[in-house]
Symmetry: D2
Subunit: 130 residues, 4 copies
C-alpha cells in the first residue's frame, strides 16, 4: 500500500494538481509547445501573469481589495489571472519534475518552525527579526 | 449526483487545493495573521516569491534551466520557491473567495478557443497575432 | 545646434543616464559579464529586484509605506532595491539600444493624451475606462 | 562650491532624473493623483510594468532577445515598457524621498566590493558563492 504518494485518495494530500498537469501536458503536446516550455521561459510567463494580477490591485486600498473577487468590475479578471498563475505554476512544476504536494508539505513544516505561534502571534515581522 | 463541485472525488476536478487552503487558514488564524492577509498584501507577497524564483533562473540558459529541478545546487531552492508561490496563490484565492478549480477549468476552455490546434501548432505567437 | 539628442546639456532632457550606462558597461566588461547580459536575462534580473522591493512593502499599510524611505528599519533596503532596479533598467536599455530619455519623452506625451486633465482628475481608472 | 550634490552639472553624477521627477510631479498634481501614489501602490504599479516587459521576452531565446530593441514587431512595445518602468521608478523614488543618483553611486560601490574583478571574472555566481 502506497501512502506516501500524492496520487492517493483525498485527505492524504494538501493539493492534488495531477489532472491539471495532465491536461496542460496534453494541451502543449497537441500544439507542439514543449519547445517553448523551458523552465526559464515558464518562469517569465509566470512573472507576466503575476504582473497582470498586480495591475488589478495596484490602485485599490486594502479595504477595497477584499471585495475584488466578487465585484462585477474585477471578479472575472481576478479569476482569470489566478487561473493563469495556477496553470503556469503547475506546468512549470511538471517540467521541472517537482511534486507540488510534497514541496507544499515540506514548506508548511518549515514555516511552522520559522514562525512558532507564541512568537509570531500578531506580528508581520520576518522570522529573522522575531 | 454533483459533478460540478470541486469537492467531489478525484478525477472530477483539475485541482484540489482544499486541504492546503484549510491548513493555511489554520496557520494564519493561530498567528492572528488575518489582519495582514488582505488580497492586496497577498498579491505583493506572491510577487515577491515569483521574484525569488526568477533570481534562481536569471543567469541560466534555457538548456540549463531544464536541470534546475534536479540539480544539487538549485533543487531545494526551486522547490521552496514553487511551494511559496503555491501557498500564497491558494491563500489569496481563499481570501478572495475564488474557487481555483472552477477558474482553472474555465481558463483551459478559454485557452482552447484562443489557441485552436491547427492555428497554434508550433507557434509562440499570442492568440491576437495568430 | 543639436537639441534632439539626450546627450546635450541639462534642461534639454528628462533624464540623463549616460554616466551610469558607461559605468555599468565598464563594470560588465571588466568581469566578462557581457555573455550573461542578454536582454532576456536582464529582464529576469530586473524582475527579481522588483520582487525584493515588493517584499519590503508587502505587509505595510499604505500609510506606513510613506515613511519607508526614511525609517531606520527600511531606509537602507529601500535605497538598495531602488538602485538595483535602476542599474538593471539602465543596463537593459543599453544592451537593447534604447534611449531611455527619448522613450520617457514619448511616453509622457502618450500619457498626457491618454489621461487629459479634465477627464482623469481624481480618478484611478485606466484610460480605457475614463 | 557644491560638488557632492546630484543637481550639479553633467559628469558629476551617474544619473540625473530631476527633470523627469518634476514632470511627473506636475502630471500627478494636475490630475489630483497624489492620493493614489503611495509608495506601496507605486511598487505594485512598477511590478505590473515589469510583468508586461517580461511578457514580451518570455518565449524568445536569448539570441532573439538581443534584437528586440530594434525589431519592428517588438521595438515599440519594448520602448514603452522600459519607459513605464522608468517613470514609476522615478516617481516612487520621489515619493519616498530617495535620491536615485546617490543610491546608484552607493550601490555601484557595494557591487564593486562584492564582485572583485579577479574573483568574478567570467562567473555568473552570486557573491556569496564566489
Amino acid at each position: 500500500m502506497e501512502i506516501n504518494t500524492s496520487k492517493t485518495k483525498s485527505g492524504e494530500h494538501l493539493v492534488d494538481v495531477a489532472p491539471l498537469a495532465a491536461a496542460l501536458e496534453k494541451f502543449a503536446t497537441e500544439r507542439e509547445w514543449a519547445q517553448f516550455h523551458s523552465p526559464k521561459n515558464l518562469v517569465m510567463a509566470l512573472t507576466g501573469e503575476v504582473g497582470e494580477l498586480a495591475e488589478i490591485f495596484q490602485w485599490m486600498t486594502e479595504e477595497q481589495s477584499h471585495a475584488a473577487g466578487g465585484s462585477p468590475g474585477t471578479s472575472q479578471a481576478v479569476k482569470e489571472e489566478l487561473a493563469d498563475i495556477l496553470l503556469y505554476l503547475v506546468r512549470l512544476a511538471s517540467v521541472l519534475g517537482v511534486d507540488l504536494n510534497v514541496a507544499a508539505q515540506h514548506k508548511l513544516q518549515v514555516n511552522a518552525e520559522k514562525y512558532p505561534v507564541d512568537k509570531a502571534r500578531g506580528s508581520n515581522k520576518k522570522y529573522t527579526e522575531l
